[in-house]
């Protein structure tokens, strides 16, 4: 009985780690298959890229402006006004928007909008045995379906990161204006704190988020089972696991970046 209790509590954990392992394997296969000829995935790559772009640009615009204005903008401004240091909001936006919120909001929107679409699409194909039929017809689903989505999502998240941080900062500007402060000091502290490291760190991080979302969502779609309800379950799990993966990766990435580039720790 003790054993069965142990089994029951260990089984889900074991299942989870098995899936994480499978996703790692899928990542490896995807990268190998992306660089090894032939390259039949160009058309699908462009389709997926445009698909993600079309689906996400508007939700992302709203999210980043609203988030930048609301969370770091108003809240931080409110706090800084206490010390009469509202000019520091610009410097804070380097930390908040460039380093953290722009990649994070991009990832959340991409996972929610494009990632779920990928899981639902692949899941439906799996359920209808289309993926089986493809394999029997000699088409490798990793090369023809996963690789283009993987590359497209990485490119899209990388580009959207720049887009998101621009609109995020716009939210900060709005907040400054709402406090009737001039914008000069905002930009001054912004540019004394911003560095090239911040920018490439942000883009690299966000690109990796894209990779995580693509792998998790493709994996969940391709392993969906149990009819239409199974696809629903797969989509739900894909989003949850994507977020977990993104947060875990963010911790590792931030820690590493701060350790290897101590100069960005200094607030000027």
């Amino acid at each position: 009985m003790a054993r069965s209790v142990a089994d029951r509590s260990i089984a889900p954990a074991r299942d989870f780690f098995e899936q994480v392992g499978d996703m790692m394997i899928l990542t490896g296969k995807t990268i190998v298959s992306a660089v090894r000829p032939p390259f039949p995935y160009g058309g699908e790559f462009i389709l997926q890229f445009l698909f993600a772009l079309r689906l996400c640009w508007f939700p992302l615009l709203i999210s980043t402006v609203a988030f930048g204005y609301g969370a770091p903008g108003l809240q931080a401004a409110n706090f800084l006004v206490l010390f009469g240091a509202l000019d520091r909001l610009g410097g804070f936006f380097v930390l908040a928007s460039i380093r953290e919120f722009a990649p994070l909001v991009t990832a959340i929107v991409l996972a929610g909008v494009a990632g779920t679409a990928i899981t639902a699409d692949l899941g439906a194909r799996k359920i209808r045995e289309e993926l089986d039929a493809l394999q029997v017809l000699g088409v490798d689903p990793v090369k023809n379906l996963v690789v283009p989505r993987f590359l497209a999502l990485m490119l899209v998240t990388g580009l959207f990161d720049i887009y998101a941080l621009l609109f995020g900062i716009f939210g900060g500007i709005l907040a400054t204006l709402v406090y009737h402060a001039p914008l000069g000091p905002f930009w001054a502290t912004f540019f004394t704190n911003a560095s090239v490291t911040d920018l490439w760190g942000s883009i690299l991080k966000c690109t990796c988020y894209g990779a995580i979302i693509a792998i998790v969502c493709c994996y969940k779609g391709m392993t969906a089972s149990g009819g239409a309800a199974g696809v629903g379950r797969a989509v739900n799990q894909a989003v949850v696991i994507s977020f977990l993966g993104i947060f875990a990766f963010n911790y590792v990435f931030t820690q590493t970046l701060l350790a290897t580039h101590p100069e960005i720790n200094v607030i000027r």
């Binding site: 003790a2 209790v5 209808r128 045995e129 089986d132 394999q135 029997v136 000699g138 088409v139």
Partner: protein, 293 residues
């Protein structure tokens, strides 16, 4: 005692007893009708299952399946719903791997092939999946043309010629530009049938080609299978629930139940079998060893 352990208690013992009761006395009775008799056909086997076991989690589907499907004949796999006929087909093309045992195609062990060899081997196959498995993003013409575009370097004109001929055979000439979700189940089946045959494969696997078709179309489809088989030869495997179809086209029959072969052999011999289960199944009678369970 913790909360969790208390909650466990009422479920645990009864669970255990049930499992024991199910497998112990069942064991003797379960395979009463499984003589496993394989009457010789006089030709070598194109596909062989050797003591194949397959389980999904705790759900054991194949339990020591031994089966040979003869070269150059139309074989039928018959068996009650849910016994693992579709699972068998997926083993043949390497979409599923056995937990134990081996699957041979033309003497090659499918589970032991490397990925590239497997892709190569699959070119021998034409498969009609149970639900048609058409690609939802392409219209019928493109679906049927897909294998040709993938594996041959024929010109687009040649391809369209072949595709139209195949679609005409299954009566879908009009529907060529329709998307799969605009079609009825039976139409999707027939399109999948056309796609499976478009490369003139050596080994053809049809998973219930006749389900969802009206009686006349079923009869016509049976004739079509026979005609195409006469033209091309090769090992055809058809899964069906329709005894009429089996009587019409089967040259070899294997009856699958509870993860093993009950009996297999040339069609005439099986239709005259003295095995109660085989007799019940092939006559579709309610009386006999097979119940609803």
């Amino acid at each position: 005692m913790s909360e969790e352990e208390k909650a466990d208690r009422p479920i645990e013992p009864s669970d255990r007893v049930k499992v024991v009761q199910e497998s112990a006395p069942g064991g003797a009775e379960e395979y009463r009708w499984h003589t496993g008799l394989n009457r010789p056909t006089g030709v070598p086997d194109a596909i062989e299952f050797i003591d194949v076991h397959k389980a999904f989690g705790r759900n054991k589907i194949l339990k020591g399946l031994n089966l040979g499907l003869p070269e150059g004949k139309i074989s039928m796999i018959l068996g009650p719903s849910g016994t693992g006929k579709s699972v068998c087909i997926k083993h043949m093309v390497g979409l599923l791997y056995p937990d134990d045992g081996d699957v041979l195609v033309h003497g090659e062990s499918v589970p032991n092939l490397r990925d590239e060899e497997l892709f190569e081997m699959r070119k021998k196959f034409g498969v009609l999946f149970q639900d048609g498995a058409l690609f939802g993003s392409m219209n019928l013409l493109d679906n049927v043309a897909f294998p040709l575009r993938q594996h041959t370097d024929k010109s687009e004109d040649e391809i369209m010629g072949i595709v139209n001929a195949r679609l005409a055979e299954v009566g879908l000439t009009e529907a060529g530009d329709k998307m799969p979700n605009e079609l009825s189940g039976g139409m999707r089946k027939r399109a999948g049938f056309a796609r499976a045959l478009v490369l003139d494969p050596d080994i053809v696997l049809f998973d219930e080609p006749d389900s969802g078709l009206d009686p006349v179309r079923t009869a016509l489809l049976c004739e079509l299978i026979q005609e195409i088989h006469e033209e091309n030869g090769g090992a055809y495997t058809v899964i069906t629930h329709d005894i009429m179809s089996a009587r019409r086209v089967a040259e070899y029959i294997a009856v699958l139940w509870r993860g093993r072969i009950v009996e297999a052999g040339p069609a005439e011999e099986l239709f005259n079998s003295d095995n109660d289960f085989v007799r019940q199944f092939l006559s579709g009678s309610a009386q006999g060893p097979l119940g609803m369970e």
